[in-house]
Each structure stands twice: as structure tokens, then as C-alpha cells.
Amino acid sequence: MMLFWMLAILVVGGILAWAAGRLNDRLPRWIAVCALGADLVLVAAVWIHNYRAVSLLESRSWLIELRWDWIPSFGASFHLAMDGLSLILLALTIFLGLVAVVASWTEVRTRVGFFHFNLLWVLAGIVGVFLAADLFLFYFFWELMLVPMYFLIGIWGHERRVPASVKFFLFTQAGGLAMLLSILALYFIHGRATGVYTFEYAALAGTPLGAAAPWVMLGFLLAFLVKAPGVPLHTWLPDAHAQAPTAGSVILAGLLLKTGAYGLIRFVLPLSPSALRAFAPFGMAIGVAGILYGAKLAFAQSDLKRMVAYTSVSHMGFVLLGIFSLDGTALQGVVLQIVCHGVSTGALFILAGAIQERLRTRELSAMGGLWGHAPRMGGAALLFALASLGLPGLGNFAAEFLILFGTFRAAPVFAVVASLGLIASTIYALSLFQRIFQGPKSAEAPFRDLGPREIGVLAALALVIIWLGLYPQPVLDTSRAAVAAIQSAAAPGRTMGIVSAHPACPAAAGPNVSPHVAGEPAGQAGRGKGGQR
């Protein structure tokens, strides 16, 4: 039930916010904050309550699940389920959602009610994507999150918002429809083989596909690589990110791209080991291309938000590289990278939005020497630029290190080329900082430094990125079991690697947890499951 409430709070909150928008402009903001706050409390409670249990979860079992019949004649059910991976992404979603609402407190002044309706509904769609354990439901949410995002870009975006929003919608919808065909093919192949026609994830995940495997995988890949984004399919991203309002950019970069990565991990990896092995080198090549190409283009941009958008392409390249290396360590790094990139890029977009709100431009050439006016903003920007370039002690370093480490075992050449990306990211991140905050002063008019609200938001993000840089173990522990299960399905025979050791559970070092140690926490897991339904 808890999973249902998480969705229901967002959906109902969105409708309330819309309705409240007719009364005044402040009420929708507070409704959104309350809804997301309530969800955040729920997620935190679940995480703390199940912290031990989730890391020892047996493979292919859910921490919490909820299942209602929906369209029995299709074999589709309203089946939400959560494991460690979903839990982390859910926490990220709600956290960044809250950040996005607070960050756009003063930016959005028109149609405030409808804005927050769209904001909460896109978050509901994303939460649904991360929780769906039924492919029909997954597709439902996957498509559902597009429309509110389209409105966020198309109505509240910047000067060229309309083409950007249309491009965004068309790209993702095209990918989504390709995935629809794959889901249906999977459904019929499974149904014909077993006589049971169902969209259940657990049932479909292991379907032997035979000769159809590459085609089925292609459909999923198209959908997820458009979102993730993989390099030839990324062209919607800079436009959408640059034109969206701050909240939209934060959600796009922090969450929507992650749905692509999540889809790859959750659906493509367990689909067909043989087809996956055949595709993996291409996948890694796409990832490496994204890292280098994104970094190069980021350096070449003159528009601040486009620049940050291209750094996203580069960082998500690491995610793709890690996923297709099929290595357990790299996959753990991917989960960490998903979180860290969401936080650091979200922060950069918030800073970009704050600068644009003050200067009314995103042109880097119009900026310079802002440190003198706004040292607090400069400090925050420096911190997140350093996070973005992968400074040790900040989360992105831990994540990228794990990805490169894991990839090196699987495919050394790709790892070597990809690590050049670290140099490139240093160049663009420092140049970003220099062009805005150093050099001769450009703004003659008084330039406001960050206010308390903005400092609060950025401080929260900074705390998270520092925490993940110094002690990423909680995230790794939480996702370990889920990732291990998927990794062993994707590439049998490769072990998980080094990062799974939990100080309190020495036996958790491999996918096979020895029974006598696992007994107590496993019982906890069972209780957690029963208690939450």
C-alpha cells in the first residue's frame, strides 16, 4: 500500500495544486512542497526501516510489492514493486523533486497552479516507471511522464521553447513506440511458449527468445538510448535542457535521463545474455563516444544551460559504459553515478537558472567576474563544478572510479579511452567556472548574491554530494542485491567484485550469502515485506 500512497500523494497533490492555483500563487507551491515532503518522509522511513534487509535481499525478490488486478484479459496488473535499485532512484526522485519546487519558487510567475500540477505529475510518472513490475504498467507510466514534461518545457520554457518541447516529445515517443513493439513481441513469445499471456516482469524476464532476441532488444534499446541519451540519439537533449525552466531542467537531467539508464539495467540486461554480449561492445562504444563528444561540445557552447546539458551527455556516457561493461563493480558505480549526476547537474542547473534570473541571459560571453558580486554563488558553483570534473571526495569521483575500475576488467581499451573523459571534464568544468566567475567584471548593475532559499537548496545538494563522496557505502549496500541479481542474469560467471563488503555483514561479499549469517536479516526482510503491504 505504501507504494500506492507514494503515487497517490503526487497525483492528488498535483490536482489540488492546479485547483489551488485559481485562489492564489503561493498555495500551489506549498501544496507541492507538502506532497513531496510527505513522500520524502515515506521513502526515508522505508529506507531506514529496511536498511539491513535490502542489502541481503535474495535475488529476484522484492522488498515491498503491491499487486492489484487491472486488465485481467490482457494479463496486465497494477503491480508495483520495490527493490534496492528502485528505492535509491525513488529517494533521488523525491529529493530532486522537492529541490526543483523550491528552486523555482520565484522563477515561475504565470499559471503557478498548472505548473505545479505538471511538475507533480511528471514526478508521479517517474516514480511509476521506477516501481512498475508489469511491462504494461511500465509502458503506461513511461508514456505518461512525457506529457507533463512537454507542457513544462512548452509553456514555461525560454525563448525557443516550442521547437524544443516538440522535439523532446517526438524523440521520446518514437523510442517509446519501438519499445511497445518489443514488449508485445516479448508478450506473445512468452505466451506462445507457456500458454500464459502476461505482462508480469518476473515472468517475462527469463523468456528464451531465440532468433527474435536481437530485434526485441533493439526496441528496448531505442527507447532507453533516446532517454539515456546514447550519442546519435541525444540531439533532443541540449534543446530541451536549455529551453526548459529551472525545475524542468533539474527534472530532465536529474531524473528523466535516469529512467533510460534504469530501463537498460532493469529490462535490457536480463533480456537475453547472448544478444547482450553481442551488443555490449557497441553499447560501450556509444558510452565512450558520449563521454568524449559530450565533453568536447560542452566546451564549445556559448550558452550556459546548453553547456551544462552537454556535460550531462558526457556523464551519462559513463553510465552507459558501466552498464554495457556487464561488470558488477561497474554496475554499482552506475547506480552511484546516477545519483551523483542527478545531484551535481541539478545543482548546476539551479545555479544557471539563478544567474539567468538575475542577468536575463544565458550567454557566457555576457558573464564574467561574478565572484566579486556574488561570492556565495561562486563558492557553490566551484563546489559543483569540481564535483562535475570528478574531484576525489565528491560523489562523482567515487562513481566514475568504480565504473572505470569495473570496465577495465571487462574491456580495458574502452576504460582507457573513457578515462580521457576525466581530462576533458576538467577542462570544461574549470572553463565554465572561469568564464562566469573570474576575469573582468561584466555586470555593472548590482548583482544579487544567493538568498537564503537558494542557499538552503544548494546546501542540501552539497551535503548529499559530499556524503556520497566520502561514504557512498549506503547507496552501494542498498542497491547491491538488486544489481547482483540483474548482473548475474546478464553475464553469468562474472562475480560482483570489491564493493559489496558491508562492515556489519562480512558474508555479503558475494552473490551467495551463506545461510547462517543471512538468517536473521532475511527474516527481517520477510517481516518488512509483510508489514508494509
Binding site: L177, L180, A185
Partner: protein, 491 residues
Amino acid sequence: MSSADLLALSPLWIAAAAALVLLLLIAVKRQFGLAAGFSLAAAASGLVAVFLCARLAPRTVTSLVVVDGYALFFTGLFFAAGFIIFLLASSYFRPSAERREEFFLAGFVALLGASVLAGSVHFVSFFLGLEILSVSLYVLISFPLGRRESIEAGIKYLVLASASAAFLLFGAALVYGETGGLDFASWAARAAAGAVDRPLFVLGVSLMIVGIGFKLAVVPFHMWTPDVYQGAPAPASALVATISKGGMLAFLFRFFWIIDIRRFPSLVLVFALIAGASMIVGNLLALRQNRVKRILAYSSISHLGYLLVAFLANSTIGLEAAAFYLVAYVITMTAAFGTVALLSPEGADADALDDYRGIFWRRPGAAAVLTLALLSLAGIPLTAGFLGKFYVAAAGVGSSLWALVIILVAASVVGLYYYLRVLVVMYARPREPGPEAARSPGPRRSYLAGGIGLAILVLLLLGLGIFPSGLIEMIKRTVATLAGVVHPPGA
């Protein structure tokens, strides 16, 4: 003909009687409110009669018409759609307009024709139903007598419909010459026994497809559609797009189910080409349109293409998908044209994209309905159109119609683009305060009836999008009756 037979036809009686009563009513006292109220009551009672008749089904009434679950399902759909369209029409026609009561009269004639089509198992009843439908459409399309473009549209439709009827008759004559009968069961039996000259039979049926294709407005018989949709008043466009096409589709499914299209690969190929061409041409031509009704016209061409994919899947799931899609399509198209009807200012329909600029900020209710309708046409979740498209794609994939399914997917992406064009305009910031607020001479029309109609449609659109199970179960039973009656066990 027993009394039960007569009773089983009660929806048809109601439609026919309502038309006659309206005729008399108008002759005695011309009052719009009265005519509208009577029409709504009659359409509703027709809908109730459909449910009551379900107990008498299946039943063959004479050799012409069959009343089975399948026919009743579609008859019910038409009456429901008719009810909503009458509601919309009540708000659409201005108090100042002359002779608006006859709209309902012609509407009932159209309902009668479409319902006959849904139940026909004989060429005579098919042709009668078709002509009843066509004649009423000539009137409906050119209904606003003072408007040039409506009369032009009506005459275009008249000429082309007559020509296509000629094809249909000639084709039927060829088949009759081969089989010696006019009921479809005998055609099927003779064809199955191999007692017909195949090329001649196929040629005859192909000529009939011309007539059928014209009514469905599928490529290459689609030329009339945009002009007629644009010229006709919005409620009449809704009727052409939903009831007229629905009646023909109901007939098409039954006809090819009876003669078993799988026996004729050349006919399957013809339909596959028609379906593919409709999806591609409809969507591509819609891209360049700047008028909402023309966009909807081309969109409906492509949607008929999607429907034919389900039809070609030629399985029970295909028929289910087609029936579901048709229901979703009828709801969606009615909602789209209904919004156009309610947004239309005095004297002309709101048609140019510019009329819709910033409408969301001025008329949020109507704009929200149109948004939902467009999203449903594009197949976005929470709407009936999403499940319809999912169902059709499932049927296509299930029958391995890969080429058609891939065209469907590609065409859907193209289609999304022009739906978004309309959306973008609707949500753009308005340039000046609402123009129609300034010009409202004479008595203002009431939006109540149309508003109720749209509210019902929105509920259905979302209801079917979220909880489709009830309708799917009903369709499964319906399709099962068709399969059972027509192909008895052992045949």
C-alpha cells in the same frame, strides 16, 4: 415474422419512428427546444432498447437482418454516439439559425441506416442501410443552407457517394452472377465449395471494396474527406466521422468474417495496401494543414488505417482490438468535433489554427477537452486512445503483421507532430483578449447541453483509459457471438 422478431428490431423502429414524429412535430410547431428534447429522449430510449433486446438475441429476422450481440453492440454504440452528438448540436445551433430542427430528423435517419448496416447479412439490407445513411448525410453535410462551403461539400459528397454506390452495385452484380444469391452466407458457401469462378468473384468483391472504402474514407478513396469535414457543420462532421464510418466498419468486419477473407490472399493484400497507404498518406497530408477540421479529417483517415491493421490480424483478438479501437475512436472524434462545435463563433466554425491561439487561457474547460481528445488520438496513456492503439498493435504483433505494425508506429510518430501543433497553438500566450467575447449579437446560446455532452465524453475517455476491463469483457462476448453465429461448430 413473430412478435419477438419485431421486438428484436425495436432500436430500428425507434429510430424510424423518431424521424417520423420529428417530421410531424416540425410541421405542427417549430420549436428547437422541443425537438431537441424529444430527440434526446428518443436516442436514450433506443439505447435502452438495445439492452432490452440483448435478451432476444441471437435471432435472424427475415433473411435480411440478424439481431445478435454483435449487431446490438454496434447499434448501442451508434445510439450512444447519436445521443452525444444531439447534445452537442443542441448547443451548436444558434437561436437565430433557421430550420435547425431538421438536423435531428436527418440524424435519426443516419442512425437507422448505420444500425441496419451493423445487422445486415444480405446484400439487399446492406445496400438499403447504406443508402439510408448516405441520403441523410447529404442533408446533414449541407445543413446550414446559407453557407456556400457546406453546400459545396454536400454536393461533392453526393456525386462521389453515388459513383461509389455504382461500383458497389456492379460488384455485387458480378458476385450475384457467380453465386446466384444475395445473402452473404450463400456467397461464403459457394466460395468455400469452390463452385465459383475465383477471378470474377474476387473482382466483384473488389469492386464492392471501392464502395466500402469510399464510406470509410481510406486511401485512395479519401479525397472527399477534408472538404466535407471542413464544409459540414461540426456536429455533422462528427456524425460522418463516427456513425457513418462505424456502420460501415461493423458491416465490413461481419462481411469478411462470413466470407472468410483468409481464403482470398489477393483481397488481404488489397486491404493491407489500403491500410498502409491510409496510415502514411493520412498522416503526411495532415502535416501541412492549417485548419483544425482538416487536420481531424486526415487524422481520421489514418485512424481508419490503424483499424484495418486490427481487422487484417484476422483473429478474435484482432476483431476485439478493432471493436475497442472503434469505440475509443468514436468517443475521441466526437469529443474533438464537439469542442470545435462549442468553440465556434457565430456564423462559421472555429477552424483556422489561429482561432485556437491561447484558447487554454481563455476557455480552459473546452481546451482541456480538446487536449484530451488530441492526446487520445495520439495514443497517450490515461486516454481510451492509448489502450486502443495498444490493443491494435498487440493484434498486429500477435498475427506477425510486422510491416503494417512498423508503418503504424512510424505513422503514429508523424501523427504526434500535428497533434502537437494544435496543442502548441492552444497553449500559446494569447495575443489579444478573446475576440468572441466582443461579438455576441442576439440571444446567447446555452452551453449547458453541449457541456454535459463533453463531460460525458471526458468521463468515458478517461474511464476507458484507466479501467478498460468492463468494455473489453463486453467486446469479448460480442466477438464470441459473431464467431459462434456465423461459423457454427463444424462448419
